[in-house]
């Protein structure tokens, strides 16, 4: 389940937008201009089922997203969807992993407090006994140059 974001969770001045998500879902997003820098030396890891519903997160995921583990497990991964991310990026992600191939890209993620953080993400299908049983995404600290390029490029992809 995805709930609308609540003003009391937000830190700082925010803007409001309603995002249309996959499967006819829509969600009210409150977002700010506050960036949380990616911590050095850490990986942010999550696993989903075949539909993109979160089944596992590591401690860094919890710390960076600002959500508790109990809010994340069972939620669709679009819980981190930031309005500045072009839908084409996620279409490319799903089209790629659906063919059984790894996907890599730079993603701006939304925090529970309305802030954001940039990651370099790699998503891979989890194949067990020949069957895809889910997906794992591993994020690492992105290069600032690459992030600057995405900040210019992504608005042109809407």
């Amino acid at each position: 389940m995805l709930h609308d974001m609540k003003p009391e969770d937000i830190v700082g001045d925010f803007q409001e937008v309603t995002l249309a998500l996959y499967g006819g879902l829509s969600r009210k997003i409150l977002y700010t201009d506050i960036e949380t820098p990616y911590p050095d030396g850490k990986l942010i890891v999550s696993t989903t089922d075949k539909e993109g519903v979160i089944t596992h997160v590591n401690q860094s995921f919890i710390e960076m997203s600002g959500f508790g583990e109990e809010e994340l497990i069972g939620a669709p991964h679009s819980i981190l969807r930031h309005p500045d991310m072009p839908p084409a990026a996620f279409k490319d992600l799903w089209d790629t992993v659906n063919t059984g191939v790894k996907w890599q890209g730079f993603v701006k993620n939304l925090r529970k407090d309305g802030g954001y953080y940039w990651v370099k993400a790699t998503v891979i299908p989890n194949v067990r006994e020949g069957e895809v049983v889910g997906y794992t995404s591993v994020r690492r600290k992105p290069s600032r140059t690459k992030v600057e390029e995405c900040i210019k490029l992504y608005p042109t992809l809407f």
Partner: protein, 248 residues
Amino acid sequence: MSYQFTVSPDFTPIHLSGWYIFNTWLQKQTDNAIHLEMYNDFQEQRDAIKNDNVDLIYANPFDAAMLVREKGFKPLVKSAGESDEAIIAVNAENHVEDVAHLEAGIRLAVTDDPDVRMMGMIMLEPGDLDESNIEVIPSDTYVIVAKHLLKNEADAGIFLAESYDELSKMIRRQLRVLVRSQISVIHHSLMIGPRLLDQREKIHDTLIQMNNDDKGRGVLESLGFEQWQTVDDEEMEFMIDLMDTLTM
């Protein structure tokens, strides 16, 4: 029938005799004839695996995918509570404060330990460094990586965190850590090959109980371990998937 056991060539030299002691202990406990073969480098060891010469291996995480997915190996155990972590360090007099400020063209001292090198290179990515714009200074051991830094023959070095922590105080005082990984799910594992699989449970149980008697505890000590901890199939698959995302 005699089996072959081998250890990832990146083991710390002070534990070499420990692996022989462990092998003797394991043979007695499980009633198997096991020969311990130490290969000089990763390539030699991989060739032996490809030729199906290996039955038991304390494997580098980098080789786990090949062992499981191509050679039918299964995980047994890992050293409890330990993981492989990497460090990027510089000479203490170097003014760089942040890895992201290391510049293209730097001389980077590295060993051929594949998982540590991979983790180290990932920590250099924020500064747009990759294999194409650094000069690699190959080093046989982590002590030599440190020496290259002290003599200013390298601008930065990649260390296995455990080996960095084992450097003498005097050396460490002359170095500075820019970043230490906190990945915690990448680790060496003891793995068992097809010819021994019918003994998997027996060997696993023997290892897990190893710290329950003085003799076993002494052997573990000579390896620098406290006790073994089970690695089940899914934990291994998860680590392999994770490594797979990092080698891209």
